[in-house]
Amino acid sequence: MSGAALRRVNLESLVEAQGATRAAPPLLLSADAYFDLAGEEFGRRLLLTTDSTGAEHCLRPDFTLPIVQAYIADGVGRPAAFSYLGPIFRQRETGAAEFDQAGIELLAQPDGDVALDQVLTFARAAISIYGITPQVRLGGVGLFEALLVQADMPDAWRPRIRNRFGHTEALQRLLARLEAAPDLPREAQPDREALLEDVTAQMVATGLSLNEGRGPAEIVDRYLEQQALDAAHVPAETLALLRSYLSISGPALQALTRIEALAEQHRLMLGAPIRAIRRHLNALGESPVVFDASFSPRLDYYTGIVFEMTGAGGDVLASGGQYDRLLERLGATAPIAASGCSVWVDRLEAEVRA
């Protein structure tokens, strides 16, 4: 058996050996769920087609969503594990639009730490089939959220900062804006009733519905909140904390030590999320591991710890992490522990040939 064929067989056996249900979702899926979950940014990668009723379908762009949807439809609650290997379809700048991914999804497992370890071990094992020692990059979504909750600032700023986490430019722009905020004396707040009347009149005059979409109360309250925020500054010390924290990136143990020092200096309790990250370093074996404090996927259902593994060429070979908010987003009534990863088989094969 030739090298490529043998690697494929080994990957097949690894996927089978996960003690999981082998998942094979349909190739043609409703596109709506993807747009709903991941928005236009991911939507532009889809290969779309429209049926005679006008409904949009896409060629399966990933395994996670259909696997999780089927799990929810079956009635959630029971721990479940799924593994997969097969083609997915995405428009990409380079490479064919059809390519293989392998991966696992561990849902509602009793111990989220054990589950993430299995995910990390799977990703490492898959990559080592190709003889590659990847560079591992870890990110701490849970760690950042813990820091954000404790940092001293007006509450209304927390979701605004959280929303930009993972988008370095947008977050830097927000911090710069907060740093530049002028120290204006607080003006008298405009009267809420008068504003409501104005906005309602304006909406009626331009034919906007008052109860579909943003209504007058939402607009006025946000306007007033903004006025209040302009007066309620984020303390300079907090901004400095956020900047120092986000700039931390380096070998995992050193980076975590720096974060501990920062936490101590600012009297933040970050012990639990930092310990959680430390525990997983073992599952990563010999690979060089970098902890990057600003690293996070741009999707708000990620929680806890996230990771990506890259090859010599810098391409992401495997990525995943914990996403305890995903099932809720897809219709489950309570958060359910979830972790998983996907492995880019075509990139692994390309890395071997390079």
């Binding site: 747009f35 709903d36 928005g39 236009e40 940014e41 939507g43 532009r44 700048e93 979701p159 605004r160 929303n163 930009r164 988008h167 430019e169 947008a170 977050l171 722009r173 927000l174 804006r177 504003l195 104005d198 906005v199 304006q202 909406m203 005059a205 331009t206 034919g207 906007l208 519905s209 579909e212 979409g213 943003r214 007058p216 939402e218 607009i219 006025v220 946000r222 306007y223 903004q226 741009r298 999707l299």
Partner: protein, 237 residues
């Protein structure tokens, strides 16, 4: 082998056709349309090795990006919209100074709390939890919208394709805000919409573009060179 020739595509109708032909005339080239307004084939007086084709402006953008035509006059907005890789696939030889318009983000006048893109980012981020759906943007500029919203860090929205009267979408309930093209902003204002202070995504105008084709024969490259020289231009390599 056939003798090499160049294909120049110009807009097939309306004001854009007139202004394009005027621009070439001012530069000493008379574009003729022997079959009249219903014909799609034309020529340039005294320049037999250039074939003129009359196409709708959006098709010119597409064919330039594909490399199916060599030269074309169309809007910069259409080059950006037709494909994410459009701007890289063509060479802008000359902005022509007409057909100017901006692609802008506009919100209902009543949204007094939204003046900048960063306000929109905040509104978009909790739109779903407040209203059970994503914020909707009506536009015919889906590619441009996606690129600019991604750069602004806004991921939580859906586009609704709108091929006409985009400015009416918020009032008709089809969308919450619009991305539209405007010259003076007066149509938007008349529909109760206001352009965000940093809401200009693209300043567009009609330009003369060339396809980027590295595989041209020496004869064809020479032909292009001499045609551009006539227009007082040179092809940046």
């Amino acid at each position: 082998m056939s003798t090499p020739s160049l294909t120049l595509a110009v807009p097939s109708k309306g004001r854009l056709e007139e202004l394009t032909r005027e621009w070439f005339a001012e530069n000493g080239l008379t574009i003729t349309r022997p079959g009249g307004a219903r014909s799609y084939l034309g020529a340039i007086d005294g320049v037999p090795d250039v074939t003129v084709r009359f196409f709708p402006a959006s098709e010119i953008a597409r064919e330039l990006i594909r490399g199916a035509i060599d030269l074309g006059v169309t809007g910069l907005d259409l080059i950006h919209e037709t494909s994410e890789t459009g701007p890289a696939a063509v060479q802008t030889l000359k902005p022509l100074g007409f057909g100017g318009a901006d692609v802008v983000v506009a919100v209902p006048e009543a949204w007094i709390d939204v003046t900048h893109m960063h306000d929109l980012a905040d509104v978009a981020s909790d739109f779903r939890s407040r209203h059970g759906r994503w914020m909707r943007i009506a536009t015919k500029y889906i590619t441009i919208t996606r690129q600019h919203f991604a750069a602004a860090g806004i991921a939580e929205y859906r586009t609704v394709e709108s091929l006409g009267a985009t400015e009416a979408a918020p009032a008709s309930g089809v969308a919450d805000i619009v991305v539209d093209i405007t010259t003076t902003g007066s149509t938007l204002a008349a529909n109760g919409l206001r352009v965000l202070e940093d809401g200009v995504m693209l300043k567009s105008q009609a330009c003369l573009f060339a396809a980027r084709k590295p595989d041209w024969s020496a004869e064809k490259a020479a032909l292009m060179e001499s045609f551009l020289t006539r227009l007082g231009l040179s092809a940046a390599r």
